[in-house]
Point group: C2
């Protein structure tokens, strides 16, 4: 096979996750799943590849350029999933017997041919929960409460900004005007009013005031009451934010965005009610509400806040090998530690000097090393070395599992 030599390279806009990034991602996904499941959401998975028709139905030709479309071997027009909402809409239509309301979570990658120069990735993970088949404001409230609980479990203080799009409708606002108003926290009041005027709105100041003074809709009032029953506090855990608009056109009333407290420009999740989307498939509308966590941003915020989350290895201990004669001793200790549930690596090269083995553990980020040679075997002990403190002590072999487990 020599002589072919391929240039090893990840495609621009795509990422490898080596242990240092993959471990923390796994940990966070595990915690998110636990909260989703506590709220009664069950997992589903859908294939990466869908009919192009399915993917294009929602976004139309505008999104065409962001979709990875290609031909299947049977020459069918297909593409990679762009989000998890369209596959969900397809699923609930394809399997009408699923009991409703259907509460599912889905944590899978999605693909978008974004401009990689902009720092966006072309493959990224989404974490979604949705409730299909309920018009009840309790459903909206539950999505919000569950999301707040996710960040609470992750040790991140957040608040949910909540609005109802029908407020815009009642004020007779146009689509482009709503998009301008949505920029309030980025641009400030003056610039927003100026843009509204430039866009042809004569009573911009008045409209701005009206929106600012608007009251939560009856539906929002019901959602807020339910959140308070669950121990969440208005203006602290959740806020009524009449300027919040969110881009996606398919939302029909409630919209919400989860903001990192004290950093309002940072949204880590967004969602709302989309009662018409499933109608694309089924012909008749089906109520739905849900939220999607932007997993990359969540990981960034959490690891910046708590750098100890990042680990180079999950392995807790390296068992060194003294020589071929003592290999079976090292193998037995490894087996015992694993039986005790401790992540244990045994050094694999019989000829390596101890120093090389210790350096390997250090470079790999394994915190403890067990050394076992002729003296230790004779006494039934091992040397346990802490690579961070460099401390080393001799311990009876049989207490090693309990000791390491408690370190």
């Amino acid at each position: 096979m020599s002589g072919i030599k391929i240039k090893p390279q990840t495609l621009k806009g795509f990422r490898d996750f080596l242990p240092e990034t993959a471990i923390v991602r796994n940990t966070i996904i595990g915690k998110i799943k636990t909260v989703f499941e506590k709220y009664g959401y069950d997992p589903i998975e859908t294939p990466a590849v869908e009919y192009a028709e399915t993917l294009l139905g929602k976004y139309g030709n505008e999104a065409n350029k962001l979709l990875y479309l290609f031909k299947d071997k049977g020459e069918r027009n297909v593409g990679l999933r762009f989000d998890q909402t369209v596959p969900l809409a397809r699923v609930v239509t394809q399997y009408p017997d699923i009991p409703k309301p259907f509460k599912r979570y889905q944590i899978q990658p999605v693909w978008r041919a974004e401009n990689p120069q902009s720092g966006r990735y072309r493959e990224f993970m989404q974490c979604d929960i949705d409730i299909i088949g309920s018009i009840s404001p309790l459903a909206d409230a539950e999505i919000i409460a569950c999301s707040l609980n996710v960040t609470k479990e992750l040790g991140l203080k957040t608040e949910m900004w909540i609005n109802d799009r029908t407020i815009f409708d009642n004020l007779g606002l146009k689509k482009e005007e709503i998009i301008i108003l949505d920029k309030l926290d980025k641009l400030g009041k003056e610039s927003v009013i100026q843009e509204l005027v430039q866009n042809g709105r004569k009573n911009a100041e008045q409209i701005f005031q009206k929106l600012q003074n608007s009251e939560p809709t009856p539906k929002l009032t019901e959602i807020f009451a339910s959140l308070e029953s669950q121990g969440l506090n208005k203006d602290q855990d959740f806020l009524f934010t009449p300027f919040l608009a969110r881009g996606l056109e398919y939302y029909t009333s409630t919209i919400f965005e989860l903001k990192v407290s004290n950093n309002y420009l940072l949204s880590i999740a967004g969602g709302g009610r989309y009662d018409n989307l499933i109608g694309l498939f089924i012909g008749t509308d089906t109520p739905a509400v849900g939220i999607a966590f932007g997993f990359d941003r969540l990981i960034d915020v959490l690891t910046q806040k708590n750098p100890t989350l990042v680990k180079k290895s999950i392995t807790k201990v390296l068992i060194t090998i003294f020589s071929k004669d003592f290999l079976s001793n090292s193998l037995k200790i490894s087996s015992n530690l694993r039986t005790s549930g401790i992540n244990t690596e045994i050094y694999l090269d019989l000829t390596a000097k101890l120093d090389k083995q210790l350096k390997y553990a250090d470079k790999k980020g394994i915190p403890y090393v067990v050394i076992i040679g002729p003296d230790e075997v004779a006494k039934g002990t091992v040397q346990l070395k802490n690579l961070q403190t460099k401390e080393q002590k001799e311990i009876p072999e049989n207490v090693i599992p309990d000791l390491i487990r408690n370190l």
Copy 2:
């Protein structure tokens, strides 16, 4: 959005995993990961999309028809990952600073444009462990021991069939002859010898006997000794099987296949040593050994053996709603149960009769239901109903979390 109506359909050869299949998959993946980590393997993830050049390097044009190739938006020739070994080879070459030996696990979907009529899927999960950068037979032994431990933890009796390809080389066997010999357990001795003769081998009977009487190579002897040191038994947990060949051309010496005991035609994992593959990228060869579990087959075997693994929902209890007046009571109990770590769903429709709520829990596979109405609220109790036994009893509200957790 009305009037567009898209036909909701999964592409042939692709699958949706609804809760009933997704839950058991998640459970099994969790157990597999735990064992991989216990043996000191760290996770990595690679993107679904790779340069076509990378994917084609290993398999050449033969596999072209099974690859999903398409154009990236920058008009680069790309494709979907076909296995996890080629991305691993790319990764270890792209990041030369990864400490060696590099022990990683990877559990991600792969895509192959197989003929869906044959019952094969076009997207399926693989679970791989590999050790890169060690020529030691201890590495081969560890891959084997870890794999046997995976199935042990899953409650499945298996045995590892082991061979060394250099035995074929030493007998001067040709590639096509090896493929014929590999069919022994499917065809039987007579047919295999007949095929060898048809293929031009005059001393077929003699070659067959020679192979049957062949001894393990020194390398295999070392692997077997290491396995025995770890408490595994020859001819029980692992066997020397001189007829085992395995299809993939890139294996260089050790090859192995994990068979379900008492059902030798069923392989659930396969692997071996491939010391030349990484040379495709790096120019110089890098030793490597690993195994891939066929996740679909593993799930099939496990769920056939133990149907109780299959659950329609992870949710343990449904909290019903009596009326709007008692909603906050139901919400509070839900919060308490979740805080106690119990997966809890609250019924979301305020107007539904109790009977409808019970039917929903039953259809969804939720085992317990909590009923709370005016009488219970007055007494500080709830009704707990077991949907399987239909048994219902009144219990003080404050003992509910402990009670359900222990059910």
